[in-house]
Amino acid sequence: MSTRLATGGRLIDRGVRKSFTFNGRRLIGHEGDTLASALLANDQMLVGRSFKYHRPRGIVAAGPEEPNALMNLGRDDRLEPNQRATTTELFDGLEAASQNHWPSLEFDVGVVNNALARFLPAGFYYKTFIHPRAFWKHVFEPIIRQSAGLGKAPKSRDADHYEQAYAFCDVLIIGGGVAGLQAALTAGEAGKSVILLEQNAHWGGRAPVDGDMLEGETAEEWIKSALDALATMKNVTLRNRCTGAGVYDHGYVLANERVADHTPGDGRPKQRLWRIRAGHIVTATGAIERPLSFAGNDIPGVMLAASLRDYVVNFGVSLGDRTVVVTNNDDAYLTAFALIEAGLSVPAILDARAQAGEAVLARAKAMGIRVEQGRAIAKVKGGKRVTGVQICLQAGEGAPIEEIACDAVAMSGGWSPVVHLWSHCGGKLNWSDHLSAFLPDLARPPLGQDGSAMVTPVGAALGVYLADDIIAATKAALSGQALVEDYAAKAPAIPPVWVMPQGAPIQLRSKMWLDYQNDVKVSDVQLAAREGFESVEHAKRYTTLGMATDQGKLSNINGLAVLSKALNADIPQVGTTTFRPPYTPVTIGALAGEARGEIFQPLRRTPMHGWHEANGAYMEPVGLWRRPYCFPRGSETHEEAVIREVNNTRENLGLLDASTLGKIIVKGPDAGRFLDMLYTNMMSNLPVGKCRYGLMCNEQGFLSDDGVVARIAEDTWLCHTTSGGADRIHGWMEDWLQCEWWDWKVYTANVTEQYAQVAVVGPKARKLLEKLGGMDVSAEALPFMQWADGVLAGFPVRVFRISFSGELSYEIAIPASHGAAFWEMLHREGAEFGAMPYGTEGLHVMRAEKGFIMIGDETDGTVIPQDLGLSWAISKKKADFLGKRGQERKHLADPDRWQLVGLETLDGSVIPDGSYAVADGTNENGQKNTEGRVTSTYYSPTLKRGIAMGLIKHGPARMGQTVAFNKVDGSTVQAKIVDAVFYDKEGAKQNV
């Protein structure tokens, strides 16, 4: 059983107890524990069930590579699935629950899959569930998802907040072990601005656990001196609990800082995503120990040797009283020594090699540890925990020689340098036969913008394993010197042991786990190879090797080694799968950062926005603006409100907040010429003081925007654009001016937000303005389609006599800082004339009654002005304008194009939005032919019936004919083709 030792534990404070629960059971740990060490201290060796076979699983590692101990952490609005117990710092009140078990962790019915394992081989899903096709979606997938889920998805809004931050430095060092600290010292002393990141709360990596001596000091002493020295350097920033997650082009790095994961609810951001731009990146990311592939290597109690040592030294926790060590390298012997020094028993070290290193052999002998060379584990005995191991010859086929009772197994298959961050941006790897590992190839680094190496790997991440070498090589690398020694070759050799024993039969190979999290075995990879999956990328997807949340940190090298053997190819030939960011999972919360709730996205508000909200407006999004759709009163529905607003505007006085309307000033000697190119009609001949409606097309000829242009002065025009089009059209203008017509003397300014704009609309509009006083707004002084500057009720205004409703209408622009006051004043003073605000829906209805088009309704990027009966707005005189040549193309000049008409349903109903006019026959896909579609459709309060506009084939030539429009229920509605102007065709009302 696993337990807390009486002494030891360099990272824990035995004086401080932390209470937590696991699957509802209350347990106690200490300050400094991880959730994993605290679970082991409480003899909780079984922590989860495997994904596919529901096998009992225990903690295998002590770091971010842990595949098994994934927990649901917290509850409700702080529930987080798939959290690794090994990287979760213990805090008081922590709630953890194991995943993927049903009904309970101890008794799981899914384990039946285990018995059926030989029926669930690699590619099982692909082979089994492919027929009948429809079954996958409706039968197989739901059942598989039910039984094979990992964590629970949170259902509540996250109670925590997250943020992002930008940082810049000359040198970014990822990893705060000895190599990283030394890199920071060297770069810091050279005066570089340095950021040093460490994923754990503690600095120094595993050197203290391994008892390294560094430059004559113990590891603990050396780390302390290094940290002291770094603390005095103002140019060096240290950040722990911060994982370098991804390396991208041009020295861009994402790092995830776990600010308050261990202090939930203290008000700090839970996590912070750092977006760092570094002049140079140093990866001091260490190495990860590999498991050995022997039968039963997934039974709780089997752990990576160095991790087992971590638990003893760092946390004072033992996995068992009797630990058998099995290894192919010298490093694992340190675990045996640490166990003996902690007073525990090591019945045997099984070394797969014929000859162990002399130094460790001598020390083992001196400590009285039995070492068996050339030996292997044939199989681990036990179910939910280890009870013993059967020993065999590594060279043989697994015939048991002896059985040793034990309750833990420490395994080491060698080390894999963490080359992920080196590889993210294109760093290449070489296979080292000496270390049986992929190492960064310094001759093929990821390149920065100047073509030089962007990343420098140091320490174990480069295959430099010996403590003194790490310091020397790191100093040299950070000083820009080439490495003089082949440090990787200096380290003791690690011979390949990919399968244990090497001749294991299928019974054993089908119990050797490569990928713990996705339940992939040696036999699965071999089967994939036999079935022709020769590419490592294909084999990965077929078997799911390395596709779990741990992304194969433990399994990839072992898996591809097994694959290469099965293919009878060398490992470098088989190659690796691609290393992609992030190195460890980054929560969506951190990626979203501050963008949630009120600041999820920018909300644009007009100066009158507050009034609208206070007056019950129902708002709708228009781009990033929010505009009132209508202003319901009392128990009115939105439809009723719109009808009232339209009727009141037509009969009395309506007020519209039109501030969102785009307003662009265009000035200069060439401004007229410029606008003649942009608009389809002439703007250069517009007299000062007058307004003209204009259309803008893109080069292809399609209608892009429309609006009223006012000539302000001899060399100045004011172009109104649609609300959603202001920024786009301003950019469009600047594009032409900067890139094409750069020698034209034209300047533009987007003054959309400088002005609040109010449409004062209705037969009583003039009465209100005359009451306000300050300027002459009579029909004589300010006729239709003119504008004037002046004063109204003391406000400085520019008044445009333009109408989008068909009524007498003044659009009044006023500096935004006065917008709210002006708007309120209009309501106050207009009350006696029946003034009411109206919203965008009322605006739409009234313009549709007048047959005015709306960009985005009548247009969709495929419509040209000629389709909309707007040929009158296309200059025949101009030699050129944007879109002219496009419109001459055959398809756009085709007389069969659908054209705009009005539509009146015979029964008075409203045609459904998006409806198509159905024609005879079917097309080649068996669909009904169509001859048109609705573009705008409303109930007209003025005409008290449904009206619509639509594009109909040969529409204008078919006045009076009826066409059928489809409805959602499958039936059709008959509509008569009529003129698109339903109301006041002569335009008498707006011109009074």
């Binding site: 931050a165 810049f168 963008a595 508000r605 959309t752 500096p815």
Partner: protein, 182 residues
Amino acid sequence: MSDPVSALGGQSFDGFAKVSEIGPVGMISLRCKLAEKPLAAALKGIGLGLPDTRRILHKEGRSAGWMSPDELLIILPYAEVGDALASLSKSLANVHHLAVDVSDARAVFRIEGAKSAQVLAKLSPVDIGAMAEGELRRTRAAQVAAAFWAQEGGFTLVCFRSVAGYVMGLLSASAKPGSELV
């Protein structure tokens, strides 16, 4: 006539730095080739000079910021915009230019306190520590356009008026006590 009201009416937030919306502030967008000879005199006429590339120049309550190779931002008291526009128009009468009042199109914030740079470091991809004396930085604050410069123990930030509420939300969230970067 009413008194001009800034976008947020002077809202403020006290976090690890103090964030306040200020204004109304007078602003003129001046577009003109910066090499035009009469420009220097025109700027002198409104009490300012020509700022260096990417710099902002402050003189007695007025500022001139370099926005692009053919655009300056003139900052001055709100009430003085009309006179300044008239002065510019007169001095630049023979030069192709565009001078336009944008006072009401903008919102202005002050971020003050020893840690004010940290508030901006969470929102803008700017190496604030490397900013030169008098540097004006056109950038973004999270999802919207913004410009800022260091001034009087803090920073002044300008954005569009319609997104003032969003920017206030950003600055307040960033200045939240407990979220200091160092």
